[in-house]
């Protein structure tokens, strides 16, 4: 539905968006994820019409939208600050866009009522924005931006101002609403957990470029670069050189005096190519005895334990000085924990547990 074609945006010397080509499909929940300053907000503002690309074209439903001003686009935006009109009541805020369309009065009433119901705000219709809570304000902003039946809804860090508990509830509400309305949602966020929860596809951005676009599970399990692996979630990165060893299998030598690691990778590597093994902490098993049938096993000493309630993360220092994180679910009470500081343990993982990435 949306097609960015070689879009570049420069502010003076600074390049915010660098020759970017992406597609966003209909009814999709698309997340733009990246650190601040990566260009994700600029991308969104170009969709809303507040910025124009320096080069390249943006198509919405096959139409070049560059000459269309923001007030004529079938695109609505939910602002990070919510941008609710403080002098208007909740009801009038939601009706604001509808009144601009010269909609008949009773249609406006119906639509606003429907929006209030969708966002469960019926009781607050007469209140002013400063008389309701942050979570309610967020819902008013959502209702207001959905009221006009946009083809595309843009959400700029929509949950940034909410506390964690409320944010989690709201994430599911957002997904619900997206499903109910069938609107295409594009969300901008720097919170990877949020992006993974709500989105059907996630685009990881850095320095004005899209690094990877994929479903949340593929982004997590099959990152295409060290950057994505490192940005999304927790990861152990082991540097080494690959040697082909059978079909799809590689022996990765990572430290002199240690046996090479066995890795399976669909990506081809040449003999002696430098590479990184990215492996998630929860895929590393921890045991006191050397495991008998593990593809890879290394010995180390527990340096630190991060107790998070449901899980514990063990920081294990290898004889080489590298620290590997291993995560286990705390299925037993803490008093019966098997390992403690300074214990010598074995870490093990299978050949397919990690992803082999080029430099």
């Amino acid at each position: 539905m949306i097609h960015f074609q070689n879009v570049t945006k420069r502010y003076g010397e600074f390049t915010a968006i660098d020759n970017l080509t992406i597609d966003i499909y209909e009814r999709e929940f698309y997340a733009l994820l990246g650190p601040s300053g990566c260009g994700k907000t600029t991308l969104m503002r170009m969709l809303a019409g507040f910025e124009t690309p320096t080069e390249g074209k943006i198509f919405l439903a096959g139409q070049d939208i560059a000459p269309v001003p923001p007030n004529k686009r079938a695109v609505n935006m939910m602002f990070q600050s919510y941008a609710l009109f403080p002098h208007l009541s909740v009801w009038e805020n939601i009706a604001f866009g509808l009144k601009r369309e010269k909609m008949p009065k009773h249609d406006i009433d119906d639509r606003v009522e429907a929006m209030l119901k969708l966002t469960r705000l019926e009781k607050f219709a007469r209140r002013k924005p400063h008389q309701i809570s942050g979570g309610q304000r967020q819902r008013v902003a959502l209702a207001r931006s959905l009221a006009k039946h946009p083809k595309l809804l843009l959400l700029d860090e929509p949950l940034g101002a909410l506390d964690k508990k409320l944010r989690q509830d709201t994430q599911f509400e957002l997904m619900d609403i997206q499903e109910k309305t069938g609107t295409t949602f594009v969300i901008v966020t720097h919170d990877q957990e949020e992006a993974m929860t709500v989105a059907s596809r996630v685009a990881v951005m850095d320095h004005g470029k899209i690094i990877q676009v994929a479903t949340p599970d593929r982004i997590y399990e099959n990152p295409n670069s060290v950057y994505v692996a490192d940005f999304i979630g927790d990861v152990n990165l082991i540097e080494g050189t690959a040697t082909p060893n059978g079909s799809d299998a590689y022996a990765m030598s990572w430290h002199e005096g240690h046996p090479p690691l066995t890795v399976k990778s669909p990506n081809a590597f040449s003999d002696g190519q430098k590479c990184h093994l990215a492996i998630r902490p929860e895929k590393v098993a921890i045991s006191s005895e050397q495991p008998a049938e593990a593809d890879n096993a290394v010995q180390g000493r527990i340096l630190d334990i991060a107790y998070l309630g449901n899980i514990s993360t063990y920081h294990v220092e290898l004889p080489t000085g590298a620290v590997i994180k291993a995560q286990t679910a705390n299925t037993r009470r803490i008093a019966r924990r098997a390992f403690t500081w300074e214990d010598t343990v074995w870490l093990s993982w299978t050949a397919t547990a990690g992803v082999l990435l080029a430099d």
Binding site: G49, N71, N76, M77, A83, F85, P86, H87, F96, R144
Partner: protein
């Protein structure tokens, strides 16, 4: 005890600097004019007692104000001049304030300085300077004739137009500053949101910017309107003989006619007229504060 002292300070201030002088003026307004020193009667005399003194006071000066049409015409004319010049001050001040609020942040202090700078020169000198600009041989006429717009000099000085120009010029900062402070607080994303929801630039301005700067507009308008209503210097220097303003009438009663009781009565009525907008102004301020909480 400390609370009592804290509350007492403003009340003592009000009592000493407002209520006591007002009582004296009111007393003179209720007296009769006399060729004496001071030029009114009765004087308070301990020997005759307070009852006899009060018996001498009457409302005939206030009755006189209603009988001679000069006074109510002067009040009405002042009101008209104050309303019109407040409107023009708003018309001139709002775009300036808007421009200042939209200017890059690093320019704003300098722009603010430029608005305040004229206050560093005496108000009288600035009004006299306008006489030099507006007179028949003044800079304005010379300039207009030089560029060929007019062949005969325009008579501006000593007309109501000169009074409006002088008032708008003098009171402009009082309008700009409150409007600016309201506009500066305005969140730019609100305008973007309005545009996003289908407003053109102009409708966004009408529906969002103007309502949200309303408190500034009201504050600025009162700050201009209230002093202009009693303004004396500008109409007497720039205005003509047909410029009727209550401040001028007041001055003439006091100093030319030496009729202190009538002058005092004029002042008391003017005060009562001013109290109404001042109360409205206070309400506006209070509402604004409540809205901010």
């Amino acid at each position: 005890m400390r609370r009592f002292v804290l509350i007492a300070i403003p009340y003592v201030w009000l009592l000493a600097l407002f209520l006591v002088p007002f009582a004296i003026v009111l007393k003179i307004a209720l007296s009769d004019a006399a060729i004496a020193r001071p030029p009114y009667f009765p004087q308070f005399d301990w020997a005759e007692g307070i009852a006899a003194f009060i018996a001498e006071l009457d409302f005939e000066n206030f009755v006189w104000l209603t009988e001679d049409d000069l006074y109510w015409k002067a009040y009405l004319s002042s009101l008209k001049i104050a309303v019109i010049s407040t409107f023009f001050t708003l018309l001139a001040g709002y775009p300036i304030a808007y421009g200042m609020a939209r200017a890059p942040e690093e320019w704003r202090p300098s722009l603010m300085m430029l608005v305040i700078l004229p206050f560093w020169t005496s108000f009288l000198i600035r009004v006299y300077a306008w006489m030099g600009i507006l007179s028949n041989e003044g800079f304005l006429n010379q300039f207009l004739m030089w560029i060929g717009v007019i062949s005969e000099p325009l008579t501006i000085l000593n007309t109501n137009s000169a009074v409006y120009i002088g008032i708008v010029y003098t009171y402009l900062p009082f309008m700009i500053l409150p409007v600016y402070s309201a506009l500066e607080r305005l969140d730019g994303s609100l305008i973007e949101a309005a545009e996003d929801l289908g407003c053109s630039r102009l409708t966004a301005f009408w529906l969002v910017t103007i309502p949200l700067s309303k408190t500034g507009i009201i504050a600025g308008s009162f700050l201009v309107f209230i002093p202009v209503l009693g303004e004396f210097v500008i109409p007497s220097l720039l205005g003509g003989s047909d410029t009727l303003m209550i401040g001028k009438v007041l001055w003439e009663e006091f100093f030319s006619n030496r009729d202190w009781p009538v002058a005092s009565a004029v002042a008391v009525v003017l005060l009562l007229l001013l109290v109404i907008p001042i109360v409205l102004f206070q309400r506006n301020q209070q509402k604004q504060q409540e809205a901010e909480q």
